[in-house]
């Protein structure tokens, strides 16, 4: 038969009803290079009859041309799917394979053994409920076994199968198996891996994979398959308090406003009270939409859309919670597994993604690094690729989270390099910290756009011009504080303050006044290059000088704000007594009295404080920044 013909179906082949609710176990295989991970997975696929005729034909022919088993079936070729892997006979990246037995479905992540691909091992392990750790019976527990077990422990995997492979190469020596087992159990105990099943196997031949091995009668425990089918890995997150990280706000029309996300823990029912974090505002659940229709309740793991009884502000990155309050902090301590070839730099800013929230984050201190062989905590300044450590982090804004051991979805994060966009590290939150007092910043060789993006703002100069006493400094000061509240990064350059420092060598001659403004404009431009919002409050009476200041930055980066309080009102206020002195002839060439103020012809914003309160003036400026996408 040259083409494919569908099989005839006998009654006994019909799907059994109970097979459809078979639970799925997600597990990972790990261990060092050449310990036989891919071979074990290939063997599991083969023995579970998952492999189909055309795949077996392809395997047989590839085993002859690309195999490393002298023409016998090379099971590793079933999972080493990349050209580079087959050429080198190694595993580079994690492969996900699927098989099922009568009792369970399995998704197995077969991961690479080389230390340089540890990030791919962690990728495969992060969603696993159980790990199969392979060791070569001839080598026993080695550094890579320790590294992988340490990462499994950090990732919260409590169930391990220690598969001691290549038993045939040590003459099926039960004493040697017992010695390896004892060594591993000691280490697992230290790592908090509580459930370990040790099994002696010969992966290519199938000994103790599905069928008990006749060559190792001294082993009376379960086979790999029997253990995978029966092990209880349940840990019920639906019993914990309700947490829903908001992924997406669904607003198809004015009548519907739903909040979408996958429930991280707990259950929720219509009518129940929830709080929106970090704001803490409370409301009740109105409706619960699930993929299977509208329901009264939903539980952990479900992707739902919730509507709320009250119109309150909720956006992506917020967390809907019930019961005990989650942690909310901008300072935390976490275990880190470093991935990037570019080493960790304390003080450098990374993008942190936790749940659906993203924020800038700085590693303030590396508390220690783990020496893999001894598991000792060593002091260190940095983490290189594949190293494990414990660090304190300072975030740009408060994060809603839980510790990793309480809640994987709410306690895990990744760090992204803001320049290369590589995933630099995985983090597991250990504890929330109070705000640290000493945060050290390190300069980066980056441009203003990178910096500004980190601050979620567009850099610009807010140039406040107007008569003495018009209210420039008062408004600028309030805008500065308002920006800080919004988590934005600004710097205020006040005319009087500048004269105490950078401009203290200048007097009030025309040349010195011009130089005063020139220097302020230069400093503002430097801040803009640093990605910041620079607020400058200077009388700056001449159009030509303000125009020069505008030329120092790029188009769209200069916002001229005319604080247009009338002269009479300024003179009435006279907060520093300067008008009085000027009228008395004590201050020559005072703007507005005996020196002209050239009104801006087309300022971006005009504010008259005799009509507008300081608060309202500030709001107008903030709104302008929002409407024009500076914030």
């Amino acid at each position: 038969m040259s083409y494919h013909e569908a099989p005839t179906i006998a009654a006994s082949d019909a799907p059994r009803l109970d097979q459809d609710d078979r639970p799925t176990l997600r597990f990972v295989t790990c261990g060092s290079v050449d310990d036989g991970k891919s071979t074990l997975v290939g063997r599991l696929l083969y023995d579970s009859k998952t492999l189909l005729d055309d795949q077996l034909d392809a395997l047989a022919s590839e085993s002859k041309t690309a195999g490393t088993t002298g023409g016998d079936l090379d099971f590793a070729l079933l999972v080493d799917g990349l050209q580079a892997e087959r050429e080198q006979g190694i595993t580079i990246d994690v492969a996900y394979r699927f098989f099922a037995t009568k009792l369970r479905r399995f998704i197995v992540a077969d991961t690479p053994g080389h230390a340089q691909y540890t990030r791919n091992m962690a990728t495969g392990a992060s969603n696993a409920e159980l790990a199969v750790v392979l060791v070569d019976a001839r080598k026993g527990v080695i550094t890579q076994t320790r590294r992988h077990s340490h990462i499994l422990s950090l990732l919260g995997i409590r169930h391990v199968v220690l598969a001691v492979n290549k038993m045939d190469l040590i003459g099926f020596d039960g004493d040697r198996f017992a010695a390896i087992t004892a060594e591993y159990l000691t280490m697992a105990g230290q790592l908090g891996i509580s459930q370990v099943q040790c099994i002696p196997v010969v992966a290519p031949d199938g000994d103790n994979i599905v069928a008990p091995s006749a060559r190792m009668p001294w082993y009376t425990g379960p086979t790999v398959t029997a253990h995978l089918e029966s092990v209880d890995v349940s840990g019920d997150v639906s019993q914990r308090p309700f947490r829903l990280p908001v992924q997406w706000v669904n607003r198809p029309n004015a009548a519907f406003r739903g909040f979408c996300g996958r429930i991280a823990s707990g259950t929720i029912a219509t009518g129940e009270t929830i709080a929106v974090q970090p704001s803490g505002r409370q409301t009740r659940i109105a409706r619960i939409l699930t993929p299977a229709g509208e329901r009264d309740r939903a539980a952990a793991g479900e992707s739902v859309t919730l509507t709320l009884a009250d119109e309150i502000d909720v956006s992506r990155g917020d967390v809907l919670t019930a019961g005990a309050a989650p942690q909310v902090s901008d300072q935390l301590a976490a275990h880190l597994v470093w991935f990037d070839d570019e080493a960790m730099v304390a003080g450098r800013r990374y993008m942190l993604k936790c749940g659906t929230a993203s924020t800038g984050a700085v590693i303030t201190t590396l508390k220690h690094r783990i020496a893999i062989d001894t598991m000792a905590q060593k002091s260190a300044a940095t983490l290189d690729a594949n190293q494990i450590g414990y660090a304190h982090l300072s975030l740009d804004r408060a994060l809603v989270f839980e510790t990793y051991r309480d809640n994987r979805d709410m306690g895990s994060f990744i760090l992204i390099d803001p320049i290369s966009h590589r995933t630099a590290a995985a983090g597991m939150i250990d504890v929330s910290l109070r705000r640290a007092t000493n945060i050290h910043w390190q300069r980066l060789a980056v441009d203003k756009f990178v910096r500004a993006r980190l601050k979620q703002q567009r850099p610009c100069v807010l140039w406040f011009t107007g008569l003495s006493g018009a209210g420039k400094s008062t408004i600028a000061d309030l805008v500065d504080r308002r920006l800080a509240e919004l988590g934005r990064h600004a710097a205020l350059l006040d005319g009087d303050n500048l004269r105490h420092g950078i401009n203290r060598d200048l007097g009030f001659s025309n040349a010195d006044r011009a130089e005063n403004i020139r220097r302020a404009a230069e400093v503002a431009a430097l801040f803009v290059n640093a990605g910041m919002i620079a607020l400058v409050a200077l009388i700056s009476p001449y159009r030509s000088e303000r125009e020069q200041a505008r030329q120092r930055v790029e188009t769209g980066e200069f916002i001229e704000i005319h604080v247009a309080t009338p002269l009479a009102e300024c003179e009435r206020r006279d907060p520093k007594g300067l008008y009085r002195k000027a009228r008395a002839g004590e201050l020559p060439a005072f703007t507005g009295i005996d020196d002209p103020y050239e009104r801006p012809q087309a300022p971006e914003i005009t504010i008259d404080t005799s009509e507008l309160s300081t608060d309202a003036a500030c709001e107008r400026i903030i709104n302008y920044l929002r409407d024009n996408h500076y914030l």
Binding site: D80, G81, Y96, G258, G301, G355, H421
Partner: protein, 320 residues
């Protein structure tokens, strides 16, 4: 809507009833994961698009997208790369579904390829696939400036797919670098892109072919009738049964179309899609055939046969 019988067998009908497949079950877990991925894509990218190939996986993907954004519409359009060699039934199904669901459908064809007269018979499947599918897809993504393309590929389909991330990074030249993929832990996806770069997103990564059919059955999802067995005109060529869907197919000496009861496990361009002899004319029958099957669905795809690593190479060049 295509009316697919789902109640042929009392036993199978019972499977879909009541609460049996509620929250904890296997399919609902996959469904929740896929919806989470679709919403992440909508939230994190400037201009996403959903690749719609009209096949069963696309049908499931579209169904999941409708659910993810219900009662709204998915916040992205569909894109079909039309080689002009699809089965006629696929095209009419595509247009009908887009109309019924009220979704934007973008159809793109590589007009350079058409002008050069590239076809699967004279230019071979490798060249044809590169020009009319891979290059066409890249053209369409560039033309519209899409920064994320959602596709229905599954990891159980093929060995290089088994290696791919859910969020799979592409360079500005649409290239996949399989040796240097971003780590992807938990459900945290690194969606950062530099200008010109893009992401391919695979919400069905953890589904198997059987899961797809079970879900179609469970949810009563419309599919192209070509998946169900019916008498169709076929010729045997290079060990495969090829359906003569229109008069453009040149018949070789000795070839004569015969009517046979066949169905398709995968659908693509008709000259490259091998049929399966079958009498399974209902979804439950298909699922039962699937469970007893001894060959993989890609067995019928002519393009994977060119070389053992052909899929990885095509993907590296920008194929889906």
């Amino acid at each position: 809507m295509l009316d697919i019988p789902t109640t042929a067998e009392p036993a199978l009908a019972e499977r879909t009833s009541g609460e049996q497949l509620h929250a904890a079950s296997h399919l609902r877990r996959l469904e929740a994961e896929s919806i989470h991925i679709l919403r992440e894509t909508a939230a994190e990218f400037r201009k996403p698009v959903m690749l719609y190939s009209i096949g069963k996986d696309s049908s499931v993907l579209l169904h999941l997208a409708m659910k993810a954004f219900h009662p709204g519409k998915p916040p992205f359009p569909l894109l079909h790369v039309d080689t002009t060699w699809k089965f006629r039934e696929m095209i009419s199904f595509r247009d009908r579904r887009a109309r019924e669901l009220g979704i934007d459908l973008i159809v793109h064809t590589n007009n350079d390829g058409l002008r050069q007269g590239i076809d699967p018979f004279t230019h071979g499947s490798a060249r044809y696939t590169d020009v009319m599918k891979t290059q066409a897809l890249r053209q369409a993504l560039d033309l519209h400036g899409f920064d994320a393309a959602i596709g229905g590929a599954r990891r159980d389909e093929e060995k290089s797919r088994a290696k791919e991330r859910v969020f799979s990074h592409r360079s500005a030249a649409h290239r996949w670098d399989p040796k240097n993929q971003r780590p992807e832990l938990w459900s945290l996806y690194n969606t950062m892109l530099a200008p010109g770069e893009s992401m391919r997103v695979f919400p069905l990564s953890n589904w198997t072919e059987l899961d797809v059919w079970d879900y179609i059955l469970l949810e009563d999802i419309p599919i192209v009738p070509l998946y169900l067995a019916a008498p169709r005109p076929v010729v045997e060529r290079d060990g495969a049964l090829i359906m003569v869907d229109d008069e453009r197919m040149p018949l070789l000496a000795g070839e004569e179309p015969h009517m046979r009861s066949v169905r398709f496990r995968t659908l693509g361009c008709y000259p490259l899609s091998g049929a399966t002899v079958s009498t399974a004319a209902t979804l439950p029958e298909i699922v039962r055939e699937m469970m007893a099957s001894r060959t993989s669905e890609r067995q019928g795809r002519m393009i994977d046969r060119d070389s053992p690593a052909s899929m990885e190479r095509k993907k590296a060049e920008g194929y889906f």
